[in-house]
């Protein structure tokens, strides 16, 4: 039992639950500010007026044309990508934490991202081989490779989420050590698979793609990929938001949710599919970016409570903000070079995760709950 002073502190923190509307409004404005800040940050010197000029319909002078291109064609795609990836990873993290009923379930940690990586590497290395064997035309091969990559990544992610789920859920309760150990095992297997494929099958060109992308990067994408990614993220977002009440009930336990009238099979299937789709698509285009799905939902829960009605939409916005901001640092810290975003998220997220673990052990000595 906590000491009386600890209890009052925690209770005081809980009393003021902010209203949904004001929080979402605030986060949206914050996001907009960050987007503008990001549009104005980078190796090339720009000012806010350059940013505004880019998006107005006036004819740019030749001098500012370069800056316009930098803003609209180099920075903007990345910002949109950061937005989508941040939202997707946070939402997937929140959903998985609801499914496993544990705040430690992060897509990269428990191995979902590795599943996506296995699928993606398979696509990168094997699809060209298949295209040649089937003697496909250049155009068809291109299309197959463009769509095959995210599709295979998503299949990998879905398959793996299912495996993790079966292994770590025992009689309706999440066995947390099993979940985390499964993650370790899956991540190891994923790494080994990627290593094997890379060593035996990959050409130099493919090797380059794979090596950099395992660290997570927002720089490898173009508008085409961003649009495809957008599809695979925005649609799941809308589906997920409708499950907020059901997920609250689910947190009590699968049996309890059933008694409350929740269609538990449907919820489970939806959550697994949607999280895996979002994570798989993200991994396909940006590699493995870890810890976002762990840290951001935790921050939202700490500030606003675990009610999914607020957690899901606020998490989406805060996740987008987090990654847009992280992207700014990735692009400016080592200017004129760039830091890969996966490195940044790991540097900050890793210690954060350790701190969470340590804190949870002291609050509740029986189990890894927070």
């Amino acid at each position: 039992m906590p000491t009386p002073s600890q209890a009052t502190q925690q209770n005081a923190a809980i009393k003021g639950r902010l209203s949904k509307g004001s929080v979402l409004c605030f986060l949206s404005i914050l996001l907009l500010i960050c987007v503008f800040w990001s549009l104005n940050s980078g190796a090339v010197e720009t000012t806010l007026s350059d940013v505004i000029a880019t998006f107005s319909f006036d004819e740019p002078s030749s001098k500012s044309q370069l800056k316009s291109i930098v803003i609209s064609e180099i920075r903007l795609p990345r910002i949109v990508l950061a937005f989508l990836v941040g939202a997707a990873l946070t939402l997937a993290g929140s959903l998985l934490q609801g499914l496993f009923r544990n705040p430690l379930a992060d897509p990269a940690l428990i191995g979902v991202s590795s599943g996506g990586a296995i699928g993606a590497v398979t696509a990168i290395v094997l699809l060209p081989v298949i295209a040649i064997k089937l003697k496909l035309s250049e155009g068809t091969a291109q299309i197959i490779q463009s769509f095959g990559l995210p599709v295979l990544a998503m299949c990998g992610a879905i398959a793996l989420t299912f495996v993790i789920y079966r292994v770590s859920l025992v009689r309706g309760r999440t066995h947390v050590p099993a979940m985390l150990l499964t993650g370790i095992a899956v991540n190891a297997i994923g790494g080994a698979f990627v290593g094997l494929v890379v060593t035996v099958f990959a050409t130099d060109e493919q090797l380059r793609t794979i090596t950099f992308w395992t660290l997570g990067s927002l720089s490898g994408s173009n508008w085409n990929n961003t649009i495809i990614l957008g599809l695979f993220i925005i649609i799941p977002i809308f589906i997920a938001l409708r499950q907020d009440r059901a997920l609250n009930a689910f947190l009590l336990g699968e049996a309890e949710a059933f008694h409350l009238g929740v269609n538990t099979q449907h919820v489970k299937r939806t959550v697994i599919l949607i999280s895996a789709i979002m994570v798989g698509a993200t991994v396909a285009f940006c590699g493995i970016i870890g810890f976002v799905g762990l840290v951001v939902p935790h921050m939202v829960r700490t500030a606003l409570g675990p009610d999914h009605k607020l957690l899901l939409p606020a998490g989406i916005l805060l996740g987008a903000i987090t990654l847009v901001v992280a992207d700014v640092f990735a692009r400016t810290l080592l200017s004129p070079a760039e830091l890969q975003i996966g490195i940044l998220t790991a540097t900050i997220g890793g210690p954060f995760f350790l701190a969470l673990l340590i804190r949870s052990r002291s609050v509740n000595n029986n189990s890894l709950s927070l």
Partner: protein
């Protein structure tokens, strides 16, 4: 290609080539352009042509000459930041084919800046044509000719030296890193840059059953039984003196020719860059091989 008399000692030839190299790098041509070079070989070519003072930024793989390391870095050749390149306000970009990611490549092409795309240099012909291309653009044909001659000198000398090795062509294995207790080594098979270099140095590749760089176990090393082992070294990658020593001391490898005859040599990893020092590199490798071709005759 010039053919030098084989009667001149190889040491003398080596000195001729090396001093010509030094002389060239001290001449700074006046090129009034801001150049960004991406890819070690591209940077080296520009510096070797004497236009080093015009290079305003390079990438992390540009480690030679030492002056290049002092320049602002726009990323590693496989992960270039287009905005970083732009922020250097370049008039000209010279990049090797290794530049990535693909979106960066497309973005750079889309911008209204002169770009020279060099191939991912892996043969002497590619090196020579790259030197010509760059020199034409920078109007440094004189320097280019001298450089080309120097490269050809080294290659020709190497070929001459090894021309009478017909019966005793040494088999050479190049390792990116030596095999250790728990890790295999990485060997250069057919169709790799190491293979080409071994060829230019007059040897034959002991690793002739696979292509590209692949892991090589102790057992396959014994099976290949090379006469000479070359281990790549650099500040951060490749074999260290300790790991090479450990490999030599491994009992399982004691019957391998190269180890029996003490023919394990470290070489700079940079040798694989196929930059303007190619002539010197080929000749140096050739000299290492020559010692053992001669020994075998006795």
């Amino acid at each position: 290609m010039l053919r030098l008399s084989t009667k001149r000692s190889s040491l003398l030839n080596f000195l001729i080539v090396a001093s010509a190299q030094l002389a060239l790098s001290n001449t700074y041509a006046e090129v009034d352009e801001r150049i960004v070079t991406i890819g070690g070989a591209a940077t080296e070519i520009v510096f070797a042509l004497g236009a080093g003072s015009s290079v305003v930024a390079a990438d992390l793989s540009s480690i030679y000459p030492p002056q290049a390391r002092e320049l602002p870095m726009v990323g590693y050749v496989r992960n270039i930041s287009p905005e970083g390149v732009l922020s250097m306000s370049p008039d000209l970009i010279i990049a090797t084919g290794a530049l990535g990611p693909p979106t960066a490549r497309k973005m750079l092409e889309r911008l209204d800046i002169d770009i020279i795309w060099l191939p991912n240099l892996s043969t002497p012909e590619e090196l020579l044509s790259s030197i010509k291309t760059v020199s034409e653009r920078l109007a440094l044909t004189e320097a280019a000719n001298a450089l080309i001659e120097q490269v050809n000198l080294g290659l020709a000398q190497s070929e001459a030296n090894s021309s009478n090795w017909t019966k005793n062509i040494p088999s050479v294995l190049f390792l990116l890193e030596p095999p250790g207790k728990s890790t295999p080594g990485m060997g250069g098979g057919l169709d790799s840059k190491a293979n080409t270099l071994i060829d230019l140095a007059g040897g034959k590749n002991a690793a002739n059953r696979f292509a590209g760089f692949k892991p090589v176990s102790m057992e396959s090393l014994v099976d290949m039984n090379p006469d000479i082992i070359l281990v790549g070294q650099s500040d951060r990658h490749g074999g260290s003196p300790e790991s090479i020593q450990a490999m030599i001391a491994t009992p399982a490898l004691s019957e391998v020719n190269a180890i029996k005859k003490d023919a394990v040599y470290p070489v700079p990893l940079d040798d694989l860059a196929f930059g303007p020092r190619l002539g010197e590199v080929a000749l140096r490798w050739n000299t290492l091989l020559a010692n053992h071709a001669a020994q075998d005759k006795q």
